[in-house]
């Protein structure tokens, strides 16, 4: 008999049928009687003061029920307590093209859209900032008055003595890396439906219910309470099925609050669903990041110091920005053994949509730089790139110089696995020109050890209720967003209680029904909600065991719970299964109430060696009364990090590890890169559901591939040039390579059944693995992603010292003499639409604003 009956088995997601047949309900599928459609008016200017908003013409339009503006909800909010800088609808200023100004609630979408045209807004235009390095020089017309030089936050960390260590290094590599801005592009656009109940006594608006495509129902409830000035207990947030989050729904998105404000004004339910362009404006994606990186090594490849200066183009609001810039520094540690680290991080405000959390939050871009530079160093020292990584491994259990506690560490095996499977030793550097192999490693937290809202509350709580019907209901606040959290919860509860999955129902993410869980972000759910589920199930199991043991006349710890049966350990369950096989043949019977006569018969039989799960449950309820259990999880104090300013971000109870090898070919005439295969090893502690882990690894590689080769948000003076999925290019099936997922199980001492995270850590390895493979193929080092064909071709031409392409050669004389040029690639340079005389793009002195470096 194997150790587990449900854990470690490939199990279909418990919500798969609804999603695959279309029967499942997402927020936009919901409909309430009398429901109105909300449409939002967005700013046409990147930076302007609002002098006047006149909604009177819109209000008069037939079919319009209410029009709301900033003054209907003037309280600022933000996901971080230090970043309460947003208004759901702008109060005095707009800060990016697409910022929210007003919302119309009307009986139909086209009437609402028509009404938007009737809202008159008078702006006073302000100079706008589009480039972070230019924005940092700003003295006047700041984006937020309390943020001098438009710097949201800067951190300067020094651990050890990096200057001394660099001076002692045998070789110091130095370089600037740029990772351009990307967004989540989740399939489901954000959607929210808000509805007030009437107070039965006063007839006034009472309780509020919001259905939303959110990763964080509890935070949403919290912020709604703040902005609507209602007690949290009066607000219920329900999360229906969510069609992907990736971080884009991990904070309160304006439409959620706007829907509530509009519903309050209209006294009717209001639903708002973003169109794709609005999703791009809501954004909260990965910021464009400029990384100046220095790595010092000894001759043998051992890293002795790292210095990094990171500038992130954060957009107009704080969002998760302070956390992002801290992760970028903190996660320089905990992958390799680095004794001296200097980190200068700048989160800068610009007049663009706010960046926030995105899969691999904070670490991906810096990891691209680091792993690329490590490859350069290996080449310089004539070392195998896999070997240089092996020489810098941590020796866990340990606490890194910047205070991160590492216990389980599967990185060495991840490296060994991908090296072996890709036939690295035989093939690396030996493939024909144009084809190459590259390696990259990465890691990520299994949830943050410190929650956003500093408090002693548990990060996850789970309740379990079992009744005489033998049905097990698990109540969890954890948000299923497609990652499999409901399935994970069911598996852990079923394994612990020894019952079948069919017996289990997970009720999740409904703040009226489920206990608090802080949400699905930073890969925390398996570790934290999983541990809480485990504890809740163990508590219930203890109650069942004590009652069953009385009946079976043995100590409770002699009992085994497995396969819907409770039996004495010394019997091994063999007798039980033989006599019970008939009933279990039709699985449904087991989940139902035992017939009274059958129950009585079994009771009369006296002491026994085994009981069915129902019998044990009935015995427990007869003995204890109600059968419920609760469990919660808070990360242990030892895992919560150091004492320095900003030390709260980065610590995690456990880290996942990943190593990848990519095989690519490069067309040297066109610069096109084809990824043929990626071997991706991921240490997830224990794979609770291997098929789900495989899916997460493949998905991470695929998303990394997008950022490496194709995806980039292109800006032109504050206008997003590609606000749709036609021009913002996520990879299609055609260019998606074969991915070989390799699960490495390091069995974490604190994870539920030893599990850690598996959905984010792999992404960061893909980009440098591809960059390094391109270098292996054609000898060029790409320091800016995505590696579009023209960036590759430009680097190839520079390498060959080939003649640059002349744009105007042989051009038709009727063509314009002055072209609007692009910069390095998709990034535009030059003048923009002549929007306003104060627009810095029009001023010569600051001509580089909005351009490349």
């Amino acid at each position: 008999m194997t150790e587990f009956s449900i854990i470690g088995k490939p199990i279909a997601m418990v919500d798969a049928a609804g999603k695959t047949t279309g029967a499942g309900k997402y927020t936009d599928d919901l409909c309430l009687p009398g429901m109105l459609v909300g449409k939002i008016l967005h700013s046409a200017y990147p930076h302007a003061r609002i002098k006047r908003i006149d909604t009177s013409r819109a209000e008069k339009l037939d079919g319009v029920v209410a029009v709301v503006t900033g003054k209907d909800a003037p309280t600022p909010y933000g996901i971080l307590p230090v970043g309460h800088d947003e208004h759901a609808l702008a109060l005095d200023k707009v800060r990016y093209v697409g910022d929210n100004l007003a919302c119309v609630a009307a009986v139909s979408e086209d009437i609402a859209e028509k009404a938007l045209e009737l809202i008159d807004v008078e702006y006073e235009l302000l100079p706008a900032y589009f480039d972070p390095e230019g924005s940092m020089k700003a003295e006047t017309d700041l984006i937020h008055d309390n943020k001098p030089h438009n710097i949201e936050k800067d951190y300067h960390h020094v651990f050890g003595d990096p200057d001394k260590a660099l001076a002692e290094a045998d070789y110091v590599a130095e370089g600037r890396f740029i990772a351009n801005e990307v967004t989540h592009a989740a399939m489901e656009p954000h959607s929210a439906l808000a509805s007030f109940e009437l107070d039965p006594h006063t007839g006034k608006l009472g309780r509020l219910t919001v259905w939303s495509s959110t990763q964080v129902p509890y935070y949403l409830q919290h912020k709604l309470s703040l902005v609507l000035e209602m007690p949290m207990a009066q607000i219920r947030v329900i999360k229906p099925l969510v069609g992907g989050g990736f971080g884009g729904k991990s904070e309160v998105i304006p439409l959620e609050i706007i829907a509530a404000i509009a519903a309050r004004a209209a006294r009717a339910p209001v639903k708002i669903t973003y169109n794709r362009e609005e999703v791009f404006w809501a954004h909260r994606g990965r910021p464009r990041t400029i990384i100046d990186l220095q790595t010092g090594v000894k001759k043998d490849g051992v890293i002795n110091a790292v210095k990094a200066r990171v500038v992130q183009d954060g957009g107009a609001y704080c969002s998760y920005g302070v956390v992002t810039i801290l992760y970028s520094g903190a996660l320089l540690g905990a992958l390799y053994d680095i004794s001296d680290i200097a980190y200068d991080g700048y989160r800068v405000l610009t007049n663009k949509p706010a960046c926030g959390a995105m899969r691999g939050h904070g670490t991906v871009n810096v990891r691209f730089a680091f792993e690329s530079q490590l490859d350069e160093i290996a080449a310089k020292l004539n070392l195998d790139p896999a070997e240089i990584r092996r020489r810098n491994l941590l020796k866990p259990p340990c606490i890194t110089i910047n205070g991160l506690r590492v216990q389980s560490y599967g990185l060495p095996e991840c490296i060994d696995q991908v090296v072996e499977r890709s036939k690295w030793k035989e093939r690396k550097g030996k493939l024909p020109r144009g084809r190459g192999l590259g390696i990259g490693c990465s890691h990520y937290v299994s949830g943050a050890a410190n929650s956003i809202i500093r408090s002693d509350m548990p990060h996850s709580t789970v309740n379990i209720k079992i009744d005489r019907d033998g049905g097990v209901i698990v109540y969890t606040g954890a948000a299923e967003i497609g990652q499999g959290s409901d399935t994970m919860t069911a598996q852990i509860a079923a394994e612990t209680l020894g019952c079948s999955l069919a017996r289990l129902k997970v009720v999740a993410a409904d703040t009226d029904l489920t206990p608090i869980d802080i949400g699905s972000y930073s890969s925390r759910v398996t570790f934290m909600a999983g541990n809480a589920t485990l504890r809740a199930a163990e508590e219930v199991k203890k109650q069942i065991a004590s009652a069953a043991a009385r009946k079976m006349k043995c100590p409770p710890d002699e009992l085994v719970f497995r396969d819907d049966e409770v039996y004495r350990r010394d019997l091994g369950g063999e007798g039980a299964r033989a006599t019970h096989s008939e009933a279990s043949a039709s699985g449904r019977v087991e989940g139902q109430i035992l017939r009274g006569s059958l129950q009585q018969k079994r009771k009369d039989e006296g002491p026994k060696d085994w009981m069915t799960f129902e019998e044990a449950v009935v015995a427990a309820i007869d003995f204890h009364g109600a059968l419920t259990g609760t469990g919660s999880y808070a990360p242990p104090p030892e895992a919560r990090g150091g004492k320095h300013k900003g030390a709260g971000v980065g610590p995690s109870p456990a880290y996942s590890y990943a190593a990848q090898v990519a095989e690519v070919s490069v067309d040297e005439e066109t610069g096109e890169v084809t990824v043929h295969k990626v071997w991706a090893a991921h240490d997830c502690g224990r794979a609770l559901n291997p098929v789900s882990v495989d899916g997460q690894i493949i998905g991470s590689v695929w998303m990394g591939l997008g950022q490496a080769l194709e995806e980039e948000m292109v800006w032109k003076d504050g206008m997003l040039m590609n606000p749709g999925l036609l021009e913002y290019r996520s990879p299609s099936a055609i260019e998606s390579p074969e991915v070989e997922p390799i699960i490495v199980e390091s069995i974490d001492p604190e994870g539920p059944f030893g599990a850690k995270e598996c959905s984010e850590g792999s992404l960061a390895a893909t980009i440098p693995a591809i960059a390094n493979a391109i270098h292996d193929a054609v000898g060029i080092r790409l320091r800016e992603c995505p590696f579009t064909p023209e960036r590759v071709l430009t680097a190839l031409r520079a390498q060959n010292k080939a003649k640059p392409i002349n744009l105007t050669e042989g051009v038709d004389p009727t063509a314009p003499t002055r072209f609007r040029e692009h910069g390095g690639a998709l990034w535009f340079r030059g003048k923009g639409p002549e929007r306003h005389p104060l627009d810095p793009a029009r001023q010569k002195a600051t001509a580089e604003i909005g351009g490349d470096d």
């Binding site: 967005h42 046409a44 093209v97 066109t670 040039m721 609007r820 692009h822 002549e834």
Partner: protein, 334 residues
């Protein structure tokens, strides 16, 4: 984004009926065939017609039909999937099979038609955007405005023609049939385009493109279409090259080359025919043809990737296509 309100969806069953309706509502009507371009554009308020003429039920305009002695006739409503799967075209006009197979994605090819691809609206990053976006940026000459964001100070629209099949059709010397209230007329496809982004085709408001004719004289040419795009599917071309060629005794008997997505019109490069005729194709000849094509291309910042790069790809793709077609390589399996 909702569709703009339109008065009526008209559903004619015959060409005569369709043309009659077009004439009646001229200037206030848009034709719906596959709808793959029209519907998103209507949502973006690029077209706000009062009437929509749904021609999908004119059955005489569907299918690929051999016309013995003259060539092959293709109805304007024939989908790209049908073109891609037609054995007749694969044998006689492989360049068209290949081009049709690269259009957008399988789902869109099931909907999109050859007539729609020929009439495809020219595209520009500053134009194919929502009303909200265009309002924020400032309208351009192609729609609602009086300036060009691509060529500031210019008064000509440079929106790029981004169809995949027209360069192949140009190589095949295709003719098109246009129905109007005064009757049918046939024009060579190469005379259909104006080269000006905002009035890119010669089709009056009361006229309907009905059929495409491929002459027998162009049959059995080797052909290749090469398309620059970032994704392997879905994308419009960022540059495209079609080449057809016929050999006799190892020499080029006849060849034609056309490019797309880098000018406001697909362009047949006449000089290439003279350059190739009678020659044996080698690397340097292919290079020279590539240079000629690159000189003809005038890519601007109407789409992703830089103009420099797209022009360079016209050169590289042309060279490769010429060499490949000379070696009788093709993506299409015969």
């Amino acid at each position: 984004m909702s569709l703009p309100e339109f008065k009526l969806l008209l559903r004619p069953r015959t060409v005569e009926e369709a043309v009659g309706l077009l004439a009646k509502h001229a200037n206030n009507i848009r034709v719906l065939a596959g709808g793959t371009d029209l519907i998103p554009s209507m949502r973006q308020k690029l077209f706000e017609p009062q009437y929509v003429l749904d021609i999908r039920h004119i059955s005489e305009l569907k299918g690929v039909h051999p016309r013995p002695g003259t060539g092959v006739e293709i109805g304007a409503l024939t989908t790209h999937t049908t073109l891609e799967r037609s054995d007749l075209l694969r044998q006689r006009y492989p360049v068209l099979t290949e081009a049709a197979g690269t259009v957008a994605s399988p789902l869109l090819r099931n909907m999109g038609t050859i007539g729609g691809n020929i009439c495809l609206d020219t595209r520009c990053l500053w134009y194919n955007q929502s009303l909200t976006w265009r309002k924020a940026c400032g309208f351009c000459i192609k729609k609602d405005g009086d300036l060009c964001h691509v060529a500031p100070g210019g008064t000509k629209c440079w929106a790029a023609f981004s169809g995949d099949t027209p360069p192949a059709l140009l190589c095949l010397n295709a003719e098109i049939e246009i129905a109007s209230p005064s009757g049918m007329r046939r024009v060579p496809l190469r005379e259909f385009y104006t080269g000006i982004g905002d009035s890119y085709r010669k089709l009056q408001a009361d006229e309907l493109l009905t059929r495409v004719f491929l002459p027998d004289t162009s049959a059995y040419y080797h052909g290749i279409y090469r398309k620059l795009r970032i994704r392997g599917s879905i994308d419009y071309p960022l540059a495209g090259v079609a080449v057809v060629l016929k050999r006799s005794n190892g020499h080029v008997a006849d060849a034609r080359l056309a490019i797309t997505a880098v000018n406001p019109a697909p362009i047949l490069i006449v000089g290439a025919t003279q350059m190739l005729a009678g020659k044996v194709i080698d690397e340097s000849l292919a290079d020279a043809v590539g240079d000629l094509a690159a000189k003809t291309a005038k890519p601007l910042t109407t789409s992703a990737l830089t103009p420099e790069y797209r022009r360079e790809m016209i050169r590289v793709f042309t060279k490769r296509a010429v060499l490949a077609v000379a070696n009788n390589e093709s993506l299409v399996r015969h």
